[in-house]
Amino acid sequence: MTPITPIKIILLILLVIVLRAFLVQKSLVLAKRLFVFLLFFLLMFLVIFPDVSTRAAKIIGVGRGADLIFYLSHLFLFFLIAGLWRRCVALAASITELSRTIALQNTNRPQEKSEKAREKN
């Protein structure tokens, strides 16, 4: 059992705050909710028992546990950004679609031609 240090308490409090921020999102589907919960559980575990991550790091050939977590979090963030990017592109496409629909619904036709059209009707 490793001793409880101030940094551990700070990290644990931060983790709880971030976890709460994730879980209050009502739109989060159950599967994602579970994933987030498990991830935070693992992180909390690693904060309390840092030796575990060091041992895991040694097994796969990384120097320190902190380094391993550093690498993994980079990978994770990269995927997160890629997902956000995809979403942004999709969002931009629907904004374009929306603007185009609005533009095509509110057209200003040349005066004389619309009068001719009215005469026909």
């Binding site: 592109v89 931009a92 496409a93 904004i95 374009t96 603007s99 185009r100 609005i102 533009a103 095509l104 509110n106 057209t107 200003n108 036709r109 040349p110 005066q111 004389e112 031609k113």
Partner: protein, 228 residues
């Protein structure tokens, strides 16, 4: 031969100072042209000025980019049963008689698309050297990526037959649409020809036009699929 209905799509973003001249010149040249001004979310009353003329005015509620404005204009013109659709800039760089020569080319030869080129005859007057070099590089890149042998890849004056235009999809909202149109021409194996046109480099158009530095942004847009 019956005259086809020619629709000119003019994307305009904050072009109020010059648009009046552009529209007057076009209508003086040929009043049978149907003109569609797509105001791309301007804040300077571009749409109001366009509204003074016998033209169709469409307004994007927000600024999306020239590619998006063109695509909106295309959709409108095709709905209105246009037979030939021409793209034209709002900044006064282009000459109305070039619309005439593009349309003639489309009609006289069995082609789908007529593309304006600044480089078919001689070096355009007043074109900055750096701009000429960047455009030259763009032709080389276009030849490599699409196989199209074009002398001027970023010229905004083009004429399409309606049935050809229906096959072209523009997803690039920004300036990368020029390259996108060319790759769509290649993908659909459309028959194209280049037509010499004259571009006027006025002080206004130089200030408003594309800086050569923006070509880096355009490349970025193409590769990243950025929509703006």
């Amino acid at each position: 031969m019956e005259r086809p209905s020619v629709w000119i799509v003019i994307p305009a973003y904050n072009e109020a100072p010059i648009l009046e001249n552009v529209l007057r010149e076009l209508l003086q040249y040929d009043s049978s042209y149907h003109i569609v001004v797509v105001d791309d979310g301007s804040s300077d009353g571009t749409a109001t000025i366009a509204g003074k003329f016998p033209v169709h005015v469409l307004r994007h509620p927000i600024n999306l980019g020239q590619g998006a404005a063109l695509a909106t204009g295309f959709e409108y013109a095709l709905r209105e049963k246009a037979q030939i659709v021409v793209t034209f800039d709002a900044d006064g760089q282009m000459q109305p008689q070039d619309v005439g020569s593009l349309v003639d080319k489309l009609q006289n030869e069995a082609i789908d698309v007529a593309l304006g080129s600044r480089f078919l005859t001689s070096v355009p007057e007043g074109m900055p050297t750096a701009k000429r070099l960047v455009l030259k590089l763009a032709t080389v890149l276009t030849r490599l990526t699409t196989g199209l042998k074009i002398t001027d890849t970023h010229n905004g004056i083009r004429a399409f037959r309606a049935q050809a235009l229906r096959k072209i999809t523009i997803t690039q909202n920004g300036m990368a649409h020029s390259s996108e149109i060319l790759s769509e021409i290649a993908r659909n194996k459309l028959a194209y020809r280049e037509v010499p046109v004259t571009i006027r480099y006025t002080r206004y158009s130089k200030a408003k036009g594309q800086s050569i530095f923006n070509s880096i942004n355009i490349l970025y847009e193409l590769f990243m699929g950025d929509k703006k």
